[in-house]
Symmetry: D2
Subunit: 146 residues, 4 copies
């Protein structure tokens, strides 16, 4: 799997604008993309106490929301904003450790871009910690040009 650093087909500013205008829950959670090349994205879930769950760690759904958001950015980095109606078909998450109350970072990458399906993986980290807290694979269905 080559690490391409080609230019993304959507800019970070454009993607964060989609977040603000068309992804209200992601926007309310403060999700944002911080790095983006074609097929590689870093996204952040800023810590807030609304993400806590019993045990004082970050709740699973907050992490799933971040991972799906990062994968959506990965897909749009490959296919462009005209295909923003791309939707998740399958998402599989393994939770590896209970993240402390701090920001979560998502590192997403494309594994295979087909004509109709895109497949990638996202690894989640607690900021400043080397070991992943969760691992995600996801497939997106890509809308066809009309």
């Amino acid at each position: 799997m080559q690490q391409k650093t080609e230019e993304s087909r959507i800019s970070i500013a454009e993607f964060n604008a989609i977040t603000a205008s068309a992804l209200p829950l992601a926007h309310a959670l403060g999700l944002r993309v911080e790095k983006m090349t074609a097929g590689h994205v870093t996204a952040r879930l800023p810590y807030d106490k609304q993400h806590l769950r019993p045990g004082g760690t970050i709740a699973g759904p907050s992490m799933m929301g971040l991972a799906d958001y990062a994968m959506y950015a990965v897909v749009l980095s490959m296919v462009g904003r005209a295909r923003a109606e791309a939707v998740t078909v399958n998402l599989n998450i393994n939770f590896l450790s209970r993240p402390e109350p701090r920001d979560i970072l998502a590192e997403g990458r494309i594994v295979k871009l087909g004509k109709r399906l895109a497949f990638g993986e996202v690894t989640l980290y607690s900021e400043g910690k080397p070991d992943p807290v969760a691992h995600v694979t996801a497939s997106y269905s890509i809308p066809q040009e009309k």
Copy 2:
């Protein structure tokens, strides 16, 4: 798989109280349990425009949040509130159709309760529609008594 209607080890009122006090994101989304017997739960995501995504359908993370919440209720219905620190280990979701803007209902059930792991499935429906909009399987890790 027998359809038991044994009494849940936690009441709906107790579970919804945990939601209000210890699951702030679920509480903010308006998630609630409506039916609960041992190993069988119905939970609801009330429609709100914050759940929309490009295309005008309900966003994946809102559905994942509902499914994980329903499975958490299924687990506590079996093991009781003293084990509220149970956490998701694996969750796999398949999105089957794009749900219109209306409430989503989750039907969750236990498939296997082991000593350390609980496994179940959750089917999501748009209220009033017969076909499922998503299907989820999830494993929870059960904390051991000290």
Copy 3:
């Protein structure tokens, strides 16, 4: 999810003939379909010591082979043998207990048949035991008519 008992678009004899002629590994493992209506299939893995693994229980790959085979039959029961080039896109299996050395039965059913994707689930049992030994979800890609 309605339990339809419509007629399968392929007969058990036809499906087992495909097994014999075009699925050599499944054939070598002795896999066969025993019941089949549209969207519902029962398939069997006959016990043989080649399926054992350390600990004296049935190996995971034998169970995965059975589950994928049952799901393939479910798909062909819905779309017919002209679409035998349908292929698995995603398969997720949870192993629930270690099966003793005896036949494994697979109960597969369709959950959603779309135009391009079919999604279903398969539950595996040790023959004569009530509790499932594994649970599988799978998506198949359906070839389009030319």
Copy 4:
């Protein structure tokens, strides 16, 4: 995720001996490990026409068998042969393209080794081709010392 090249806790010869003596189906398929350091394994499925399926490509169950085998080797490379009763708990596979009739190589690596669960990923390739044909994540349950 650091790329460690520490010594495996089991040698390739020892692992292939377990294959020959205790994994009869893997042995019959000709599966073998070719490279192994702690947490990193390369394994091979030699091409044979028994792996074909309708369409003339390699069957899914042969690839799943290879992936599970590679992950088992990854786990034993970390925990040693005394824990050979480690079993798969969850396996999720995404098929990315239809592999031509040739050997399949599996590149497996550990992502997280916990006390009771090991989690890793396996990428499958057609020999000599750069793009993956399938991607797998798997969790293994590690037997506890008595």
